[in-house]
Symmetry: C2
Subunit: 375 residues, 2 copies
C-alpha cells in the first residue's frame, strides 16, 4: 500500500468544495476542514482525510443532519448543556468550546456538555482553541462502544479521548489521547494497510487477544463482542482499570452531565448520539497568567532537558511532535494512503466533483476490498 | 512475612493518640487518622498504616510543621490558591476541599490549588468529600519524582494520582489511581514483602527494566535515575506517553496553577514542597441532579451486567471494591504486615506510648532490614 503526498492547499480546496457540496455554508465547511486537516497536519493520519468516508456515509444515511440547529438547553454563567440535534460534530463542538471560552473569560471557568451529536474529529482541536485565548482547554468525547471494560468481553465505552491544552513557550502543551490503548482510527489504519495488530491492543469476540484488524472491527460493528483494551491492557497488573477509569471520566463530562447517550448507546438505530465535554479554565483566576505560563514553560524545558534512556535522543513534551509534523507536512505534503484515495474518488463520484481537478492524473491503483467499518 | 489483623477501633485509637502526641489537636488528629484508615478500610494497604513511618520521620525532621497556618493567597468565587506553609498534607487538603465544595455550592464550580504542602494520603478521600455533598469531586497531587517520562531515564514526575468521584446508586463512583503504572506505595509493599517486582513496572538507573524494589527505591531517593514507568509502560506502543500526559494534567492543577514546586523539585532540601489540586462541580448547574445521578447509576449497572471475559465472574465499577473491602475490614480486621508493626513499635518508643495497650502481647518477630525510603 502506497502513500500519495498532497499539498495542504490541495486538500483544503478539496474539503472546502466537498463539504459545501454536501450543503454546508462556506463558514461551516471552513470549520470542518480545519478540524480534519489539522489532524493530518499534526501527523494524526487516523483522524484526517482517512475519516472523509465516515462523514460521507453518515451524511448520506442521514445520521448527520446538515441543517440541524443545535440548542442551548441549560445555561449558567459557568456551564451549559447543548442538544446538538444530530448536527455535524465539528460544528456544534466549535460553538460549544467558544461558549466555554466566553464563560471562562467572564467567570473564570466554562464547562459545556453536549448530547445528540456526531463524531467531532480530534479532541485536541477544541482544547487548543482555549489555549489560543490564553486559557487552559479541556475536551473529551464518547463514541461508539469499542473499549472492553476490565474483565469484560463486550465493548461498553468508546475510545473516549481526553485532551488538555495549556499555554506555554516556545509552544503550547497539548495532550490528546484516547483512553483505550489505541484509537479505533489506528485499527482502521492497520486494516487499510492490511497489517496484523501489535500485541496488547485488541480482543476478539470471546475476550481473547487478537491481531486481526478486520475481524475486530467487524465484531465491534455487529456488536458481537471484543474490541480494544483500555490503556493499561486487559488485566489489573498493568493498570487496565485505570484506562477504564479515564474512559469513565470522559463519560461524566460528555454523556452524564448532558443526560445524553453513554457510549454503549451510541451509533444505534441510525443515530450517532455522540456526546462531548468541554472546559476552559482561566489562569488569571489563580494568579498572574504570564507568571503561570513561564512557570509551566520552565518545567516543560526541564523535561526536555532531562537525561535520556539508552538509545533515545529526545524526550518530547506533549504538543511538540505536532509542531514538527506541521512543518514537515507544509514542506513535504500530507501523506494519504491509496485506500483512502479510493474513498475520495468514490466521494467525488457521489458529489459530482472532478477528481482530476484536485489530484491530476493520479488514480488509486486498485479498489481494495478491506473492511470499511459501519459507515 | 506475616500479617496481623487489628480492629478498626484499635487502630483508630492508636492513631488518635499518636497524632495528638505529635502535637495536633483532637480535631486535627481525627482528620488525619480518617484519611489514613479510610485507605486501609478501602483495602489500599500502601497508603494506610504502612505510611505511619513516613509521617513519623517527616514530622521528626521538621519537614511537616505541626503548627503551620495555611494561607489563602488568591481567592475568587470559583477558585483559590492556598500556601500550606509546610502543613500536614491531610489538614490543608481537607480545608481546601471544603473550600472547593463551598464554592461549587454557591457558584457551580470550585477549583483550589495548593502549594508547599506534604503528602496528603489517598487522593480519593478528598474527591469523595465532594461526592457526599452531591457534587462531582476531583483531587490530584504531585509528589517526589518517581515517574520516568517516555524516552527518559530520570524520574521527573511523581506518581501523580488523579481521583474522581460522582454520586451514584447503590454506591458512588470513585476512581482513584496513580498515573504511573503502579504507586510508589506498591513498590514499598513489595520491598517489605521482599518480593521481586512484576515486569513492566520499574526501571533501573540506566533506564532498563528492573524487578529489584530496594534498588529502585534507593535510586529514586538518591536521584541516581530510574523509577516507575508511566501508565502504558516505557514505549509508545502501549501508550507510555498517555500515562505521562495524565501525570502532566495532575501537575497543571497542583503545581502549575498554584505556582508551586513541580514533582522534580519536591522533597528537596528538607522541604516537602508537595502540591495538590481540588475541584468540585455542582451537577445542578447542568440539570436536575437526581436525574443525572439516576442516569449515571443506570450506566454503572449496565457495565456490571455486561458479558464477562472467559474465566471472569465480575466486572467492577470504580468504588465497588472499596465498598466490599470496608465490609470485610470491619468484620475481619485490618491487615498490617509485621514490618509495618516494627515501625509502629518504633513510633511508640519515640512518642512514649504503650505499645501493649493497643496490641496486647503481640511483638513484631524480627526487625527486618529492608530499605526504608527517604523517611
Amino acid at each position: 500500500m502506497a502513500y500519495q503526498y498532497w499539498s495542504y492547499e490541495t486538500l483544503r480546496r478539496f474539503c472546502m468544495e466537498a463539504f459545501q457540496k454536501f450543503g454546508f455554508t462556506e463558514a461551516e465547511a471552513n470549520i470542518i476542514q480545519d478540524v480534519l486537516l489539522t489532524s493530518d497536519l499534526f501527523g494524526i493520519e487516523s483522524h484526517g482525510m482517512q475519516r472523509m468516508v465516515r462523514y460521507h456515509k453518515c451524511i448520506e444515511k442521514g445520521m448527520i443532519k446538515i441543517d440541524a440547529q443545535p440548542e442551548v438547553v441549560f445555561d449558567t454563567p459557568i456551564s451549559a448543556v447543548i442538544d446538538a440535534h444530530d448536527a455535524m460534530g465539528q460544528l456544534v463542538s466549535y460553538r460549544a468550546m467558544e461558549l466555554a471560552i466566553e464563560k471562562a473569560k467572564k467567570s473564570g471557568v466554562g464547562i459545556v456538555s453536549v448530547r445528540n451529536s456526531n463524531h467531532y474529529g480530534i479532541a485536541g482541536y477544541y482544547a487548543k482553541m482555549a489555549c489560543k485565548e490564553g486559557l487552559m482547554g479541556f475536551s473529551c468525547t464518547n463514541s461508539e462502544a469499542i473499549m472492553v471494560p476490565t474483565f469484560g468481553r463486550m465493548a461498553m465505552l468508546g475510545s473516549n479521548p481526553i485532551a488538555c491544552a495549556f499555554p506555554a513557550e516556545p509552544y503550547d502543551f497539548l495532550f490528546d489521547a484516547s483512553t483505550t490503548v489505541v484509537t479505533r482510527g489506528k485499527l482502521e489504519m492497520y486494516n487499510k494497510m492490511e497489517k496484523p495488530l501489535p500485541e496488547g491492543w485488541a480482543l476478539d469476540k470471546d475476550g481473547h487477544p487478537s491481531s486481526d484488524a478486520p475481524d475486530v472491527l467487524a465484531n465491534i460493528v455487529a456488536k458481537n463482542g471484543g474490541g480494544i483494551m483500555p490503556l493499561g491492557g486487559s488485566t489489573e497488573q498493568l493498570g487496565s482499570h485505570k484506562g477504564y477509569g479515564y474512559g469513565m471520566l470522559c463519560e461524566i463530562f460528555a454523556s452524564i452531565l448532558s443526560m445524553g447517550a453513554t457510549s454503549n448507546h451510541c451509533m444505534v438505530g441510525g443515530k450517532g448520539n455522540i456526546c462531548h465535554g468541554f472546559m476552559a479554565i482561566n489562569p488569571a483566576y489563580f494568579g498572574n497568567p504570564e507568571d503561570i505560563k513561564a512557570h509551566f514553560s520552565t518545567f516543560l524545558q526541564e523535561l526536555r532537558d532531562a537525561p535520556k534512556a539508552d538509545g533515545q535522543e529526545k524526550i518530547y513534551t506533549h504538543g511538540e511532535k505536532e509542531i514538527a509534523a506541521i512543518v514537515d507536512r507544509h514542506a513535504n505534503g500530507i501523506p494519504v494512503n491509496d485506500n483512502t484515495m479510493v474513498e475520495v474518488l468514490d466521494l467525488c463520484e457521489y458529489l459530482g466533483m472532478d477528481f482530476g481537478s484536485y489530484f491530476g492524473d493520479y488514480r488509486p491503483p486498485v479498489k481494495k476490498e478491506v473492511f470499511k467499518g459501519n459507515y
